[in-house]
Symmetry: C2
Subunit: 321 residues, 2 copies
DNA sequence: ATAATTTATGAAACCGGTCCCAGGTCAAGT
DNA sequence: ACTTGACCTGGGACCGGTTTCATAAATTAT
């Protein structure tokens, strides 16, 4: 019991026990609203807890219970609208379930991802949600035994990992086919990371293959994450030898950059299809795919606290503009 | 020591001590890279830790150390661009300092804020950052003794609270005076919460008073948080009996809504001054105040882990468009 | 009246670490 | 030879809870 200026600042369960003339076991029972405590003792203990303004120590309980009621959310960066929406879903669901959500930025660094996986081993989190990853699925799976691990992509076949993901393939194919019906013969593509580990990249290539055939290097711009990157992409396609009729972008803000480049050059803006249904596509009035990322976050959270090793598919909507 | 299919899954410091023939104290010294351990013992212990793939339990260390290296960030909702930028700053700074950042949504509910303050008492966090609040400063101050509390507004006079805030007053006055030089005789204002607890609301009123005189009800629209709210505000001012020459908005996305209403009605858009320098003001080309919210978040974090009861002022920039 | 439950309580182990302190070795200083 | 101080080591208290288990009283069932 630590005092400061006469007022009690910190108390523990032993103080309460001593002052109430009971044992810590009994106090613990009162704290946890368990049966088998005499009414008078319960009242007395509650009164003393009230009086000393006692609050049980969260960390001690976590240690004893072997769980922290905390979920770690692994993401490259927090300020990107894609992740912001997913986080929003996770945080909302987490709040309702009484869980704490901790943000774990990686900047796509595998070493840092490993660090968080080690923290999972150290019981710092009950589960990890990978909204994006650089490590292999094998690596993630290897840590599965230390806690639930949820990834936000289709892990395919028989994985031990839980997964919440959007139906990218279906929505991409739908969007691209719609573009064909609009008379767009050639379609440019803008991607973020051009590697096999990015689910978005992989699926975009597959969907493109199915609808437009092989994706050539000239029709592809990679490394786009922000509006300014999109602007660069716009410049690339504007100056291209064989211009494309429309561009399928990996995000609305990037799409806005593409659009804006043409506007700034006083050229007719090339039709763009974006993703995420952000304000930018609404303002510039181009089509987009809404992946319902809040729902994705909620699903990921449910999987994180559930023990069921399952998959959840979130349907996307194509918004024609 | 818990095994699963032959492989060791969980070990603790006692296992390491037993297997290495040393005491727990010595193992602890090795874990923490302390002096006074014989080279051969150190090597042996390290080898065994390696072999069993031992990771110290985070929660146990936290309990013993009396700190969690976790900062709670209190905010109304996570998906709003204002808070997204502040979070980004906090998370970045937290990562560099080896701290965990937990998001605590309140939806402006005082009861929920209280709940988080109680958690601070329960040692769940080392400090709390209030990016926004509904509780009074007195209330926050009352919990100050349980941990550092940082608020993101100017708390004025002699408060025990640490504070990181932007120079709203200066930037608002600057922006409004600039508007006057542009010939805008009457200025509408859009606010989020029209109560005295919102720093933004309070300062906007004061700045308006200083430049334009008394803020009348007819020149004010409140309750705006999103683009759609801004759209409503646009409708309000478009249909007003005494139209305003320009509108000072509490956010770029809201400003975009205002702007867009006029566009949709085929009316010449009314000049808007936004805040936060988001993509929307860039796309629609209206002036805005950049509060450098990432820097605000970083400052807030520094105050959260520092014991110095200080204030940090972040300068804003007015971006004329 | 006796056996079987249910209720009530506290001692003590446990969760998995940190750290103070006592005790011992050994080389340098006087 | 004797003090001094740096180096090593382990026992055990401590952080603040939860939970098992033994014990006993009060009910209920037979």
């Amino acid at each position: 019991m630590i005092k400061e200026g006469g007022a009690v600042v910190v108390t523990n369960i032993h103080d309460i026990a001593r002052l109430s003339g009971c044992s810590v076991s009994t106090v613990s029972r009162v704290i946890n609203h368990q049966k088998y405590v005499a009414d008078d003792k319960r009242a007395k203990i509650e009164a003393i807890m009230q009086q000393l303004d006692y609050v049980p120590n969260r960390v001690a309980r976590d240690l004893s219970n072997g769980q922290t009621k905390t979920i770690g959310v692994v993401l490259p960066y927090a300020n990107h609208p894609y992740f912001a929406r997913v986080i929003d879903g996770i945080v909302g669901a987490g709040f309702s379930a009484g869980y704490k959500i901790t943000l774990l930025p990686t900047n796509y660094d595998m070493t840092i991802e490993r660090h968080y996986l080690e923290q999972l081993r150290g019981k710092a989190y009950d589960a990890l949600i990978f909204t994006s990853r650089s490590s292999s699925l094998d690596t993630l799976e290897r840590y599965r035994k230390y806690g639930q691990i949820v990834c936000c992509e289709d892990p395919g076949d028989e994985r031990q990992l839980a997964a919440a993901f959007t139906d990218r393939m279906a929505s991409y194919v739908y969007a691209l086919k719609w573009a064909q019906t609009q008379g767009y013969q050639t379609m440019g593509v803008v991607l973020s990371r051009n590697n096999v580990i990015s689910a978005s990249t992989r699926v975009t290539r597959r969907a493109y293959q199915e609808v437009y055939g092989k994706l050539t290097d000239t029709n592809l711009f990679t490394g786009a994450v922000t509006y300014d990157d999109g602007y660069q992409a716009g410049a690339y396609f504007a100056k291209a030898e064989h211009p494309v009729d429309a561009i399928f972008s990996n995000g609305d803000d990037i799409g806005a950059g593409i659009h804006q480049y043409f506007v700034d050059q006083h050229q007719p803006p090339i039709p763009v299809i974006g993703q995420e249904n952000l304000l930018s596509s609404r303002l510039l009035h181009f089509s987009t795919i809404d992946h319902h990322l809040e729902a994705l976050g909620q699903a990921a959270f449910r999987l994180a606290i559930g023990t069921s090793r399952t998959h959840e598919l979130i349907k996307s909507d194509f918004i024609k503009r």
